[in-house]
Subunit: 161 residues, 2 copies
Amino acid sequence: MGVDCHHTESAHPGLEGVALADAVAAAVNKCERTRERLTPPRRRVLELLLEADGPMKAYDLIAAYGHDGEPAKPPTVYRALDFLERLGFAHRIESLNAYVPCRMEGTSHRAAFLICECCGAAQEFEPDFAPQFAAAESAGYAVRTVTLEARGLCPACKVEA
Amino acid sequence: MGVDCHHTESAHPGLEGVALADAVAAAVNKCERTRERLTPPRRRVLELLLEADGPMKAYDLIAAYGHDGEPAKPPTVYRALDFLERLGFAHRIESLNAYVPCRMEGTSHRAAFLICECCGAAQEFEPDFAPQFAAAESAGYAVRTVTLEARGLCPACKVEA
DNA sequence: GCAAAACTGTTATGAAATAACATAACTAAA
DNA sequence: TTTAGTTATGTTATTTCATAACAGTTTTGC
Ligand SMILES: [Zn+2]
Ligand SMILES: [Zn+2]
Ligand SMILES: [Zn+2]
Ligand SMILES: [Zn+2]
């Protein structure tokens, strides 16, 4: 992101220890309830996303995949990301080519992000797309998914701007 | 897009002849007023976007660049696209890795698109981001740009779905 | 069990974007 | 009108991002 950014405080510091275990356990539970399979590679990629301080690039995940330092093969990670996105455990941020774990509780939602162009933080929020959605539908469009990405400066970076 | 899509009618058929010349002339005028330089490669890429029936990939533009069939070098086209985006003559659609000419009259606006997942059409519309914008600002965020991409089925493709 | 479906491992390739550096063309002051 | 500063282009090579294809394995339902 900003090459000159020294605002190291992250909006979403990575999870560790109990918090990480809890988050993974919640995903395991949700998958059991919905008869989905949180297989080892899927679980590993979810862990990596949860542990990260910010959006992770696919090849960051590939590099970090093996506990022994061995990277994954690209399809392994991309397939896991497809699964995690499909189930709502992760989101792709198009304007960054990067991925984050979902921070919203609800089962289904439309993703929206505030992205800091200085420190790279990405904050998920629950958008109200009602107006845009209604406009699209009234124009005959059948909307399936909506993504919104707002780029600018986070509070921390705005100060020192 | 949809490999099985036969809905050839485009929401934005490419410009030809006088309409194309007019659109280019309008860009020339706007650049003269603002002391920006619509140089040959920039103008050529703008033409290609205006002539196209839908979103164009960067490498489509690269392949189509030369009137004699000679492709452009990638940086030529990417630099031109940067310029066109900066001046509001074109938009990048993140979820497609593709580009369209701006269809809105106003000088400054935030881009939003309805994207058909069947036929690939991308319809620009003027969004009202007031609620999201206000929420972001009240959270301390200084928003610079917002992009919204709604994916689904256009009226034509919805019928035959 | 057995067959179908879903998932993984692996190799290779394709698609998208940029780094780096040399050259050329405008622009405006000296 | 030199001359310096800025902006834009040409070119080569490389990096980054993502998927195709296919063989083999595990799970699931019958
Ligand atoms: Zn989410
Ligand atoms: Zn920041
Ligand atoms: Zn526009
Ligand atoms: Zn369509």
